[in-house]
């Protein structure tokens, strides 16, 4: 938080892997404050760009536990600002500065 931006095309997002052990895929760090630039001069950053970035930069092991194809694997809920990404267009969800994206792996234990 509180990073300086060169131009207005930088998006800072907070990533969190709070529930379900997904943080184990990135050195057990649960919350990541990241600064992601839209690709190829695009003006907007969407969830598809972000997933690509997360896979390339945060996931340290077993990427198949996070993604399948170009989206998250079955059993992971994606929340953008505490809201299911189904409600905002899944991969096409446009991200704004300081958006909070949370990945949750469903639990089955009891």
């Amino acid at each position: 938080m509180g990073m300086a931006y060169g131009h207005n095309h930088a998006w800072e997002s907070v990533f969190s892997f709070p529930i379900g052990g997904l943080e184990l895929l990135c050195d057990s760090v649960k919350i990541h404050n990241v600064n992601v630039e839209p690709q190829d001069g695009a003006k907007k950053l969407d969830m598809k760009d972000l997933l690509t970035w997360v896979r390339g930069n945060l996931i340290k092991e077993r990427p198949e536990m996070f993604m399948k194809g170009d989206t998250v694997r079955p059993g992971i809920l994606v929340l953008v600002n505490d809201c299911d990404w189904e409600l905002s267009g899944q991969l096409t969800t446009t991200l704004e500065d300081k958006d909070v994206v949370v990945f949750i792996s469903t639990l089955h234990g009891g």
Binding site: G20, G21, M65, I76, T106, G110
Partner: protein, 468 residues
């Protein structure tokens, strides 16, 4: 030794006798208490009829809510709540709730549901109480270890509230009996511990049109939501495709802090009470996420009912018959029962029993023992002179095994042609097979796994070896 053995069996016999006597006495006490209650009720009526103050009304149904004087007193703190009151309590008393699973989630859920006066409370479980349940499954008492959880849970609920009807379903929930059992209740509470059960219960609730209070807990985290209620999604709307089996961890493997399912189970009771009493705003279309370690509770908005859902969607054809024929184990690639996985990956001569391994130790045969469990498991207990190389790091630590084998060969001499042997052990004998498979591929041709792992060792060789 012999006299010790004699003492032990004498003590065991005496314990058995005393337990039987205790159980008889407890039954007698319960019977007498019930008699006493009846006498009090009769006596009370006599007093009213013969007393100096004739009753204005002795029929409590005259108040319109159907609560007896005892009920008014028992549930008075509910009745005093302006937002709950006598109407909500009356709804609860007439309601029926089914709790599937009398474990970590089901324990507090059942106790609260019994205490609050749910008219008919059903319990489904096929398991028996075990010592390693006690830290979280707080409904069970030590004297019930080895007995069915349903029986133990029903006794506990009855001891909290003897006025409700408790129904014991001592069976595993399957597609063959789920419709029959679940159709007898208004609200279903999913307190199970595996993915196929969760899909099965949700689908059955859709077929029967029942609201489902779903909770889950693992490690230090919990989740809670209400499915199939008031236009909200079902489990399949949210998770149309089952996760890979590697993402389905169990408490028995990954551990769980006892109080975490306790908290989620309490919240499940709350949601069930809200639905049964028609008070408040149940957690439908929202999901509660609980992170115990950082003390964070987050409630997020989830999608509504999906029109494309295969089970509850607009064009869904998921009928009772489809449900009964659906193979949930195949669908999720996981077993419905909680019995641990038993792999059989290796040919017989790549394996050795724990008894055979003990012979090797006794004979002083040169060997290296690699324990492939995670480090925190190794810290609980391990076999003497075993080296810990967790399975995920095996690939990068092969040189350590090579040096250990060389060291063993130098120390004890190579009197056999094959040199020191390599054995691999884990908790139950699955990961050790995976490791041996890999080790053979990498040229460690003497590698063998110890069948059944440390649990096998404890069972067949050393009964004092701790299991977990």
């Amino acid at each position: 030794m012999e006299s010790n053995g004699g003492d032990a069996s004498r003590i065991l016999r005496e314990i058995e006798t005393l337990k039987a006597t205790k159980s008889e006495i407890e039954q007698r006490i319960s019977a007498l208490e019930a008699q006493l209650r009846e006498i009090k009720v009769d006596h009370g009526n006599d007093a009213i009829l013969n007393g100096s103050c004739p009753p204005i009304s002795t029929n409590h149904s005259d108040f319109g809510h159907g609560l007896s004087p005892d009920m008014v007193y028992r549930y008075s703190r509910h009745l005093l709540l302006p937002t709950f009151g006598v109407q909500a309590q009356s709804n609860i008393l007439k309601s029926s709730i089914l709790v599937i699973g009398a474990g970590g989630l089901g324990s507090p859920a059942l106790l609260y549901l019994a205490a609050c006066g749910v008219g008919r409370l059903g319990i489904v479980d096929h398991d028996v109480v075990e010592l390693n349940n006690m830290h979280r499954q707080i409904i069970h008492r030590e004297e019930y270890i080895g007995q069915p959880k349903v029986k133990s849970a029903a006794a506990a609920c009855l001891s909290v509230n003897s006025t409700i009807n408790i129904v014991e379903h001592k069976e595993a929930l399957r597609t063959s009996n789920a419709l029959d059992i679940m159709s007898q209740y208004d609200v279903v509470v999913d307190a199970t511990d595996n993915a196929p059960s969760r899909y099965m219960i949700s689908d059955c609730c859709v077929v029967l049109g029942k609201p489902l209070v779903s909770g889950a807990a693992l490690g230090l985290e919990g989740q809670l939501t209400v499915y199939n209620y008031n236009g909200g999604p079902c489990y399949r709307c949210l998770f149309p495709t089952p996760p890979p089996t590697t993402a389905c961890q169990r408490c028995a493997d990954s551990g769980v802090l006892g109080v975490v399912p306790g908290i989620i189970g309490c919240l499940q009771a709350l949601e069930a009470i809200k639905i049964a009493s028609t008070v408040g705003e149940p957690l439908s279309g929202r999901m509660l996420l609980f992170d115990a370690l950082s003390s964070r509770i987050r409630i997020v908005k989830i999608r509504g009912r999906s029109l494309q859902c295969e089970v509850c969607g607009e064009n869904a054809t998921f009928s009772r018959l489809r449900f009964q024929e659906f193979d949930y184990e195949k669908f999720t690639q996981s077993p419905l029962s909680t019995s641990p996985l038993k792999l059989n990956l290796l040919q017989a001569d790549y394996r050795i029993s724990s008894k055979e391994y003990k012979e090797k130790i006794v004979n002083g045969e040169p060997h290296v023992l690699v324990d492939v469990r995670p480090q925190h498991h190794f810290k609980i207990v391990s076999l003497p002179s075993s080296m810990n190389i967790p399975l995920p790091s095996l690939e990068t630590r092969l040189s350590e095994i090579s040096s250990a084998l060389e060291g063993e060969s130098d120390e004890k001499g190579t009197n056999s042609r094959s040199g020191p042997q390599l054995y691999v052990v884990c908790r139950r004998g699955n990961d050790s097979q995976r490791a041996v498979q890999y080790l053979h591929k990498m040229g460690f041709t003497s590698a063998k796994d110890i069948i059944g792992g440390l649990e096998g060792w404890a069972r067949d060789v050393d009964p004092n070896f701790p299991t977990y």
